[in-house]
């Protein structure tokens, strides 16, 4: 067996397995199992990326998707009541219609891609160009930080803004007013007066009578 057929076999396994895992994601009943199947998809896709000699992308793929995003899914699901989701009905009444439309769309997709695909046309970044840069990681760095520097920086600023926003939203305002031991004397007096005034204002209209007319 030469290395070409071996690679084809490995690709076949990875492709079939990722499709099978993707189907498991939507078909299994327990959401936690679904999330784990999604991890399976991510790993097999990373394998395909390695076959394409995109090692950096494969590692980043696993770190970001398997290491961060799906763990967050699991975190949320672990705290929910999974049993309810398991008992819920899995198919909508529109399922038969969905099957028909899906088959039609798949057919269209196959016809269209078959008509429009161009085989053998090299892209901008050929293997020779990548080798010239000294490897995959270097080539990716060149493209990201030289050719597409501005979009990259804009994206990173946006992401930072999102993180800051999330922290601002998650930060709780102190619910309990500061305890009397933490206050100075004048502040404590002011707080007492304020409290008494508030009580007065609240209690007066509720009783329907006015004290000290």
């Amino acid at each position: 067996m030469n290395s070409e057929t071996l690679l084809t076999l490995i690709f076949a396994y990875l492709a079939v397995a990722s499709v099978v895992f993707a189907m498991l994601v939507v078909m299994m009943r327990n959401p936690v199992h679904c999330a784990l199947a999604l991890v399976g998809v991510v790993f097999h896709l990373a394998g395909i990326l390695i076959l394409l000699r995109a090692e950096f992308l494969a590692a980043a793929h696993i770190i970001i998707y398997a290491g961060a995003i799906i763990v967050l899914f699991l975190f949320t699901m672990m705290l929910l009541n999974v049993g309810v989701a398991e008992r819920a009905r899995q198919f909508h009444v529109q399922a038969p219609l969905a099957v028909v439309i899906g088959v039609v769309l798949l057919f269209e997709f196959i016809v269209l891609t078959g008509a429009s695909i161009v085989v053998g046309a090299p892209g901008l970044h050929t293997p020779a160009w990548v080798a010239e840069q000294g490897g995959n990681v270097q080539a990716l760095g060149q493209v990201l930080f030289r050719d597409y520097l501005l979009p990259f920086e804009v994206a990173s600023v946006l992401l930072t803004a999102a993180v800051v926003g999330a922290i601002v939203l998650a930060r709780q305002k102190p619910k309990r007013p500061r305890s009397s031991s933490e206050m100075g004397v004048s502040e404590w007096m002011a707080a007492r007066v304020e409290k008494a005034r508030k009580r007065e204002a609240e209690s007066a209209p509720r009783r329907g009578v006015t004290r000290n007319p």
Binding site: V32, A59, L74
Partner: protein, 339 residues
């Protein structure tokens, strides 16, 4: 071709067997050392000086009843220990114990493989190990295990970021993501220019391997351990084994990445020749690993455990700024001294 296959097989076997062989004496050494530091004797009954104690414990664990709790998610419960153990063994496939050795006209790399994204590969595997913890806690169908797994996975996810951040500095200086290349690049161990990064890395590695003073997942003195509370017998032994394998891995990484691997032996090579220099490099590397392991155990014996909020505050309010400072230092060094 055949030669290549044979080399790969031998290297894989070594990378797989070394952690398995080193872990039992490591556990024994830890217990003896803890005993000495705490003015006790430690295990000294089984075999000379108690060396066989770990073996006896392993046999005991293997002989225990294997319980899968009622109401547990059976398949995930069984899968969880493997999800933790497999990544920690996979990571060994890129760990260098040296650079290149030329013997009998052949050049052999003293590492299982030289992946051009080695650092990222290790980070990816540490991030995947969280699944073992999450699944073990969730599948046990026990509130204690679930809360324990939430605690541990939050810890691991947070400290993973610091692990990556501390390695960014090294990657910037070495200009490569490959671990052997990082070792080769160190004329001076990176722990000296990047001492901030080294500090962050050591703290993050302690937390990632669930060791004192960050051993909240276990916390044997105040909580009845965490995510693995429902596990018995050899399944529990798997968790134990992966913890020690990770500890060994962290020691190898810190020695290779921050302490320069076999440094300063390669500098002596013009004076004493290739083979003696490589031998010395190996000796230095192993010495560094064992010193770091000693440091691990020493910390466990002397430092009290962090409280959970302290753990998180330390991560996000101390280590994160330090990690960013480390990146800044590395960039300045890269533009000046290392230019």
């Amino acid at each position: 071709m055949t030669e290549l296959v044979i080399t790969i097989l031998i290297k894989s076997a070594i990378a797989f067997v070394v952690p398995l062989l080193v872990v039992p004496p490591l556990i024994w050494g830890e217990r003896r050392l803890l005993g000495r530091i705490q003015s006790r004797v430690g295990p000294n009954r089984v075999g000379p000086m108690g060396v066989l104690q770990t073996l006896a414990d392993a046999v005991k664990l293997l002989g225990k009843e294997d319980i899968v709790p009622a109401g547990a998610d059976r398949s995930l419960f069984i899968l969880a220990p493997f999800l933790l153990l497999v990544p920690s063994f996979m990571a060994w496939s890129v760990v260098p114990i040296g650079t290149e050795l030329t013997i009998l006209g052949r050049t052999i790399g003293l590492y299982p493989t030289d992946v051009n994204v080695g650092v990222l590969y290790i980070l990816a595997l540490t991030s995947v190990a969280v699944y073992g913890i999450v699944m073990a806690g969730w599948a046990s169908n026990s509130k204690y295990a679930l809360l324990g797994s939430l605690r541990s996975s939050a810890q691991m996810i947070s400290y993973e970021i610091m692990l990556g951040l501390s390695l960014v500095g090294v990657v910037v200086l070495a200009g490569s993501l490959s671990l052997p290349e990082i070792v080769r690049q160190q004329q001076v161990p990176y722990a000296i220019p990047l001492f901030v990064g080294a500090f962050v890395f050591v703290c993050a590695a302690l937390a990632e391997t669930n060791r004192a003073p960050f051993d909240l997942p276990e916390a044997e003195t105040e909580l009845v351990s965490g995510y693995h509370v429902e596990y018995t017998g050899w399944r529990f032994a798997f968790f134990f084994l992966s913890e020690y394998a990770n500890m060994l891995l962290a020691s190898f990484l810190v020695s290779a990445v921050f302490l320069g691997g076999g440094w300063p032996a390669p500098l002596l090579e013009p004076m004493i020749g290739h083979l003696p220099a490589m031998f010395l490099a190996l000796v230095f590397m192993v010495t560094k690993v064992f010193l770091f392991l000693f440091f691990y155990i020493w910390l466990r014996a002397t430092l009290p455990r962090f409280r959970y909020d302290q753990l998180m505050n330390f991560c996000w309010k101390v280590l994160l700024p330090l990690g960013l400072l480390n990146v800044a230092i590395a960039t300045v060094l890269k533009l000046t001294i290392y230019a």
